[in-house]
Amino acid sequence: MNNVLGIYMKIKALLVRVGITGLLAVTANTVIMPAAQAEYADVVLNRYAEKNGMRPVIYPHWFHRIRFRCKVCHSELGFEMRVGANDITMGKIIDGQYCGMCHNGEIAWSTEHCDRCHSGKPGLKTRIYGGHGTSGPGIW
Protein backbone atom coordinates (compact mmCIF):
# COMPACT_ATOMS: atom_id res chain seq x y z
CA MET A 1 0.00 0.00 0.00
CA ASN A 2 2.84 2.32 0.92
CA ASN A 3 4.43 1.54 -2.41
CA VAL A 4 1.29 2.51 -4.30
CA LEU A 5 1.04 5.74 -2.31
CA GLY A 6 4.72 6.42 -2.95
CA ILE A 7 4.30 5.97 -6.69
CA TYR A 8 1.19 8.15 -6.63
CA MET A 9 3.09 10.92 -4.82
CA LYS A 10 5.98 10.67 -7.27
CA ILE A 11 3.64 10.94 -10.26
CA LYS A 12 1.88 13.87 -8.63
CA ALA A 13 5.18 15.63 -7.96
CA LEU A 14 6.25 15.02 -11.56
CA LEU A 15 2.99 16.43 -12.89
CA VAL A 16 3.39 19.53 -10.74
CA ARG A 17 6.92 19.98 -12.05
CA VAL A 18 5.80 19.55 -15.64
CA GLY A 19 2.97 22.00 -15.01
CA ILE A 20 5.26 24.63 -13.54
CA THR A 21 7.79 24.19 -16.32
CA GLY A 22 5.02 24.46 -18.89
CA LEU A 23 3.74 27.61 -17.26
CA LEU A 24 7.24 29.09 -17.29
CA ALA A 25 7.69 28.14 -20.94
CA VAL A 26 4.35 29.67 -21.89
CA THR A 27 5.13 32.80 -19.89
CA ALA A 28 8.51 33.06 -21.56
CA ASN A 29 6.89 32.70 -24.95
CA THR A 30 3.95 35.01 -24.57
CA VAL A 31 5.11 37.62 -22.12
CA ILE A 32 8.87 37.92 -22.04
CA MET A 33 10.03 37.09 -25.53
CA PRO A 34 7.84 39.42 -27.63
CA ALA A 35 9.48 42.27 -25.73
CA ALA A 36 12.74 41.36 -27.44
CA GLN A 37 13.16 43.70 -30.39
CA ALA A 38 16.28 42.15 -31.77
CA GLU A 39 16.29 41.07 -35.38
CA TYR A 40 15.61 37.33 -35.76
CA ALA A 41 18.72 35.20 -35.19
CA ASP A 42 20.95 37.98 -33.91
CA VAL A 43 23.65 36.30 -31.84
CA VAL A 44 25.30 37.94 -28.85
CA LEU A 45 28.82 36.81 -27.99
CA ASN A 46 29.88 37.85 -24.54
CA ARG A 47 32.00 35.04 -23.13
CA TYR A 48 35.13 37.18 -23.21
CA ALA A 49 34.18 40.65 -24.46
CA GLU A 50 32.99 42.43 -21.33
CA LYS A 51 35.52 40.70 -19.11
CA ASN A 52 38.10 42.39 -21.30
CA GLY A 53 36.52 45.81 -21.23
CA MET A 54 34.74 45.65 -24.58
CA ARG A 55 31.05 45.78 -25.46
CA PRO A 56 29.43 42.42 -26.21
CA VAL A 57 29.59 41.39 -29.87
CA ILE A 58 26.38 41.31 -31.91
CA TYR A 59 26.47 38.99 -34.90
CA PRO A 60 23.53 39.66 -37.28
CA HIS A 61 22.63 36.54 -39.28
CA TRP A 62 20.36 38.60 -41.56
CA PHE A 63 23.20 40.87 -42.68
CA HIS A 64 25.52 38.00 -43.44
CA ARG A 65 23.03 35.73 -45.23
CA ILE A 66 22.32 38.47 -47.75
CA ARG A 67 25.98 38.20 -48.74
CA PHE A 68 26.97 34.63 -47.94
CA ARG A 69 25.14 31.31 -47.89
CA CYS A 70 25.03 29.41 -44.61
CA LYS A 71 27.52 26.89 -45.99
CA VAL A 72 30.33 29.44 -46.19
CA CYS A 73 30.58 29.93 -42.43
CA HIS A 74 29.06 26.66 -41.26
CA SER A 75 30.96 24.40 -43.61
CA GLU A 76 34.02 26.10 -45.09
CA LEU A 77 34.89 28.19 -42.04
CA GLY A 78 33.88 25.62 -39.45
CA PHE A 79 31.38 27.45 -37.26
CA GLU A 80 29.34 24.96 -35.23
CA MET A 81 25.60 25.47 -35.55
CA ARG A 82 25.04 26.07 -31.86
CA VAL A 83 25.45 29.24 -29.84
CA GLY A 84 28.30 28.86 -27.41
CA ALA A 85 29.88 25.92 -29.24
CA ASN A 86 32.47 28.13 -30.93
CA ASP A 87 35.28 29.35 -28.72
CA ILE A 88 35.99 32.58 -30.56
CA THR A 89 38.72 34.89 -29.31
CA MET A 90 40.33 37.97 -30.83
CA GLY A 91 43.59 36.05 -30.97
CA LYS A 92 42.04 33.44 -33.24
CA ILE A 93 40.32 36.09 -35.36
CA ILE A 94 43.58 37.94 -35.91
CA ASP A 95 45.14 34.56 -36.78
CA GLY A 96 42.57 34.25 -39.56
CA GLN A 97 40.19 31.82 -37.89
CA TYR A 98 36.41 32.24 -37.45
CA CYS A 99 35.37 35.84 -38.28
CA GLY A 100 38.97 36.48 -39.28
CA MET A 101 38.56 34.34 -42.39
CA CYS A 102 36.75 37.30 -43.97
CA HIS A 103 37.24 40.20 -41.57
CA ASN A 104 40.81 40.73 -42.64
CA GLY A 105 40.52 43.83 -44.81
CA GLU A 106 40.23 41.74 -47.97
CA ILE A 107 36.76 40.20 -48.06
CA ALA A 108 35.27 42.32 -45.26
CA TRP A 109 36.46 45.13 -43.04
CA SER A 110 39.41 44.38 -40.82
CA THR A 111 39.51 44.01 -37.05
CA GLU A 112 40.59 47.60 -36.48
CA HIS A 113 36.89 48.60 -36.62
CA CYS A 114 36.28 47.25 -33.10
CA ASP A 115 32.99 49.04 -32.48
CA ARG A 116 31.21 47.67 -35.52
CA CYS A 117 31.11 44.22 -33.92
CA HIS A 118 31.53 45.17 -30.26
CA SER A 119 28.28 47.09 -30.40
CA GLY A 120 26.05 45.54 -27.71
CA LYS A 121 24.64 46.97 -24.53
CA PRO A 122 26.50 46.07 -21.34
CA GLY A 123 25.34 42.91 -19.59
CA LEU A 124 23.90 41.06 -22.58
CA LYS A 125 24.02 37.29 -22.27
CA THR A 126 25.58 35.04 -24.88
CA ARG A 127 22.68 33.55 -26.81
CA ILE A 128 20.62 33.78 -29.94
CA TYR A 129 17.97 36.52 -29.96
CA GLY A 130 14.94 37.33 -32.02
CA GLY A 131 11.31 38.01 -31.28
CA HIS A 132 9.66 35.10 -33.08
CA GLY A 133 6.82 32.84 -32.01
CA THR A 134 8.59 30.03 -30.25
CA SER A 135 11.58 31.90 -28.87
CA GLY A 136 13.55 29.14 -30.51
CA PRO A 137 15.64 26.30 -29.25
CA GLY A 138 18.63 28.59 -29.20
CA ILE A 139 17.54 30.00 -25.85
CA TRP A 140 18.62 26.95 -23.88
Partner: protein, 207 residues
Amino acid sequence: MRYLIGFCLLLSMAAWAANPQPPSGGSVEGRTWKPLADDDLHDPGNPALGELQQPGEAMAAFPKDFPTIGNQVDWVRALEQGVIVPRTNIFPDTHIEVLDLDIIMDKTSQMPMVRFPHKAHTQWLDCSNCHDWLFKKKAGANPVNMFAILAGEYCGRCHGAVAFPLTECRRCHSQARRTFTGEYGAQKGPGKPFKPVMQQEVIGINE
Protein backbone atom coordinates in the same frame (compact mmCIF):
# COMPACT_ATOMS: atom_id res chain seq x y z
CA MET B 1 15.49 19.93 -18.25
CA ARG B 2 15.86 20.86 -21.92
CA TYR B 3 13.70 17.93 -22.87
CA LEU B 4 11.14 18.75 -20.19
CA ILE B 5 10.73 22.23 -21.61
CA GLY B 6 10.65 20.72 -25.08
CA PHE B 7 7.87 18.40 -23.97
CA CYS B 8 5.82 21.30 -22.60
CA LEU B 9 6.33 23.23 -25.81
CA LEU B 10 5.31 20.14 -27.75
CA LEU B 11 2.00 20.05 -25.88
CA SER B 12 1.33 23.68 -26.68
CA MET B 13 2.39 23.08 -30.31
CA ALA B 14 -0.09 20.21 -30.55
CA ALA B 15 -2.87 22.51 -29.37
CA TRP B 16 -1.70 25.13 -31.83
CA ALA B 17 -1.58 22.68 -34.72
CA ALA B 18 -5.08 21.35 -33.99
CA ASN B 19 -6.65 24.64 -35.01
CA PRO B 20 -6.73 25.13 -38.77
CA GLN B 21 -5.56 28.66 -39.30
CA PRO B 22 -3.85 30.84 -41.83
CA PRO B 23 -0.14 29.99 -41.90
CA SER B 24 0.96 32.93 -39.88
CA GLY B 25 -1.98 35.15 -39.07
CA GLY B 26 -1.53 38.86 -38.87
CA SER B 27 -1.86 41.36 -41.64
CA VAL B 28 0.37 41.50 -44.66
CA GLU B 29 0.91 45.16 -44.09
CA GLY B 30 2.82 46.56 -41.17
CA ARG B 31 6.18 44.95 -41.75
CA THR B 32 8.58 47.16 -39.87
CA TRP B 33 12.12 46.64 -38.69
CA LYS B 34 13.42 48.23 -35.53
CA PRO B 35 16.28 50.66 -36.03
CA LEU B 36 19.40 49.16 -34.47
CA ALA B 37 19.53 51.89 -31.83
CA ASP B 38 16.08 50.82 -30.55
CA ASP B 39 16.42 47.03 -30.67
CA ASP B 40 17.38 46.51 -27.00
CA LEU B 41 20.65 44.93 -28.10
CA HIS B 42 22.75 47.66 -29.67
CA ASP B 43 24.31 50.31 -27.46
CA PRO B 44 22.88 53.63 -28.71
CA GLY B 45 26.02 55.34 -27.40
CA ASN B 46 28.31 53.34 -29.69
CA PRO B 47 30.06 55.83 -32.00
CA ALA B 48 30.19 53.22 -34.81
CA LEU B 49 26.46 52.49 -34.75
CA GLY B 50 25.86 54.77 -37.71
CA GLU B 51 28.28 52.72 -39.80
CA LEU B 52 26.10 49.61 -39.59
CA GLN B 53 23.40 48.80 -42.12
CA GLN B 54 19.84 49.07 -40.82
CA PRO B 55 17.67 45.92 -41.21
CA GLY B 56 14.79 47.89 -42.73
CA GLU B 57 17.03 49.45 -45.33
CA ALA B 58 18.43 46.05 -46.28
CA MET B 59 15.32 43.87 -46.27
CA ALA B 60 12.28 46.01 -47.09
CA ALA B 61 12.41 45.20 -50.81
CA PHE B 62 12.98 41.43 -50.38
CA PRO B 63 10.23 38.85 -51.04
CA LYS B 64 7.91 38.96 -48.08
CA ASP B 65 7.15 36.74 -45.19
CA PHE B 66 4.48 37.54 -42.61
CA PRO B 67 5.20 40.32 -40.13
CA THR B 68 5.32 37.80 -37.29
CA ILE B 69 7.88 35.51 -38.89
CA GLY B 70 11.62 35.76 -38.45
CA ASN B 71 13.15 38.56 -40.46
CA GLN B 72 9.83 39.00 -42.35
CA VAL B 73 11.67 37.83 -45.45
CA ASP B 74 10.97 34.80 -47.65
CA TRP B 75 14.65 33.93 -47.82
CA VAL B 76 14.25 30.94 -50.12
CA ARG B 77 12.44 33.03 -52.74
CA ALA B 78 14.89 35.90 -52.28
CA LEU B 79 17.64 33.50 -53.30
CA GLU B 80 15.73 31.70 -56.07
CA GLN B 81 14.61 34.94 -57.69
CA GLY B 82 18.09 36.39 -57.58
CA VAL B 83 17.05 39.29 -55.37
CA ILE B 84 20.08 38.39 -53.30
CA VAL B 85 23.19 36.68 -54.64
CA PRO B 86 25.07 35.44 -51.58
CA ARG B 87 28.45 33.85 -52.18
CA THR B 88 28.63 30.06 -52.14
CA ASN B 89 32.28 29.77 -51.14
CA ILE B 90 35.43 31.56 -50.07
CA PHE B 91 37.95 28.95 -51.15
CA PRO B 92 38.11 28.49 -54.93
CA ASP B 93 38.24 24.68 -54.78
CA THR B 94 35.22 24.14 -52.52
CA HIS B 95 32.78 21.71 -54.15
CA ILE B 96 29.29 23.21 -54.35
CA GLU B 97 26.44 20.76 -54.57
CA VAL B 98 22.72 21.40 -54.89
CA LEU B 99 20.50 18.32 -54.61
CA ASP B 100 16.95 18.35 -55.97
CA LEU B 101 15.32 15.53 -54.03
CA ASP B 102 12.17 15.57 -51.91
CA ILE B 103 11.73 13.25 -48.93
CA ILE B 104 8.23 12.38 -47.70
CA MET B 105 8.17 11.71 -43.98
CA ASP B 106 5.00 9.80 -43.21
CA LYS B 107 5.21 9.18 -39.48
CA THR B 108 3.46 12.40 -38.50
CA SER B 109 0.36 11.03 -36.78
CA GLN B 110 -2.69 13.12 -37.63
CA MET B 111 -0.66 15.95 -39.06
CA PRO B 112 -0.12 16.22 -42.80
CA MET B 113 3.06 14.47 -43.88
CA VAL B 114 6.33 16.36 -44.15
CA ARG B 115 7.75 17.06 -47.59
CA PHE B 116 11.41 17.89 -47.08
CA PRO B 117 12.92 19.68 -50.09
CA HIS B 118 16.65 19.11 -50.41
CA LYS B 119 16.84 21.80 -53.05
CA ALA B 120 15.86 24.76 -50.89
CA HIS B 121 18.17 23.47 -48.17
CA THR B 122 21.23 22.74 -50.30
CA GLN B 123 21.00 26.12 -51.99
CA TRP B 124 21.92 27.50 -48.57
CA LEU B 125 23.69 24.65 -46.82
CA ASP B 126 26.41 22.13 -47.52
CA CYS B 127 25.58 18.40 -47.30
CA SER B 128 27.96 18.12 -44.36
CA ASN B 129 25.96 20.63 -42.34
CA CYS B 130 23.33 17.92 -41.78
CA HIS B 131 24.94 14.62 -42.93
CA ASP B 132 25.79 12.31 -41.34
CA TRP B 133 26.32 13.68 -37.87
CA LEU B 134 22.76 15.01 -37.53
CA PHE B 135 20.83 13.01 -40.14
CA LYS B 136 21.74 9.68 -41.68
CA LYS B 137 21.54 9.67 -45.49
CA LYS B 138 18.67 7.22 -45.53
CA ALA B 139 14.97 7.99 -45.46
CA GLY B 140 13.37 6.48 -42.37
CA ALA B 141 16.66 5.95 -40.56
CA ASN B 142 16.41 9.09 -38.45
CA PRO B 143 14.27 9.21 -35.31
CA VAL B 144 13.14 12.77 -36.01
CA ASN B 145 10.32 13.93 -33.79
CA MET B 146 8.87 17.25 -32.63
CA PHE B 147 10.05 16.54 -29.10
CA ALA B 148 13.70 16.61 -30.20
CA ILE B 149 13.14 19.39 -32.72
CA LEU B 150 11.71 21.68 -30.04
CA ALA B 151 14.74 20.89 -27.90
CA GLY B 152 16.94 22.21 -30.71
CA GLU B 153 17.97 18.98 -32.40
CA TYR B 154 17.47 17.81 -36.00
CA CYS B 155 15.45 20.48 -37.88
CA GLY B 156 15.43 22.51 -34.65
CA ARG B 157 19.11 23.28 -35.06
CA CYS B 158 18.06 25.99 -37.51
CA HIS B 159 14.25 26.19 -37.52
CA GLY B 160 13.26 28.30 -34.56
CA ALA B 161 16.68 29.91 -34.36
CA VAL B 162 17.64 31.23 -37.79
CA ALA B 163 15.27 29.57 -40.30
CA PHE B 164 11.49 30.04 -40.09
CA PRO B 165 10.16 29.30 -36.61
CA LEU B 166 8.46 26.15 -35.36
CA THR B 167 5.08 27.83 -35.09
CA GLU B 168 4.82 27.47 -38.88
CA CYS B 169 3.64 23.86 -38.70
CA ARG B 170 2.24 23.72 -42.22
CA ARG B 171 5.34 24.85 -44.05
CA CYS B 172 6.85 21.46 -43.30
CA HIS B 173 3.64 19.48 -42.79
CA SER B 174 2.55 20.34 -46.31
CA GLN B 175 1.81 16.99 -47.92
CA ALA B 176 -1.79 15.73 -47.67
CA ARG B 177 -1.85 12.03 -46.80
CA ARG B 178 -5.15 10.97 -48.37
CA THR B 179 -4.39 12.23 -51.84
CA PHE B 180 -0.78 11.02 -51.85
CA THR B 181 -0.43 7.93 -54.00
CA GLY B 182 3.34 7.51 -54.25
CA GLU B 183 5.89 5.81 -52.04
CA TYR B 184 6.99 7.46 -48.83
CA GLY B 185 10.62 8.43 -48.36
CA ALA B 186 12.86 9.61 -51.20
CA GLN B 187 10.86 10.76 -54.23
CA LYS B 188 11.71 10.15 -57.85
CA GLY B 189 12.34 13.07 -60.15
CA PRO B 190 12.75 16.73 -59.35
CA GLY B 191 11.28 18.20 -56.18
CA LYS B 192 7.84 19.77 -56.08
CA PRO B 193 8.02 23.53 -56.50
CA PHE B 194 6.90 25.50 -53.47
CA LYS B 195 4.92 28.71 -53.75
CA PRO B 196 6.13 31.86 -52.01
CA VAL B 197 5.52 31.38 -48.30
CA MET B 198 2.65 33.85 -48.14
CA GLN B 199 0.74 31.96 -50.84
CA GLN B 200 1.23 28.42 -49.58
CA GLU B 201 -2.03 26.62 -48.82
CA VAL B 202 -2.77 25.11 -45.44
CA ILE B 203 -3.30 21.34 -45.37
CA GLY B 204 -5.76 20.41 -42.64
CA ILE B 205 -5.53 17.69 -40.02
CA ASN B 206 -6.34 14.21 -41.43
CA GLU B 207 -6.38 15.46 -45.00
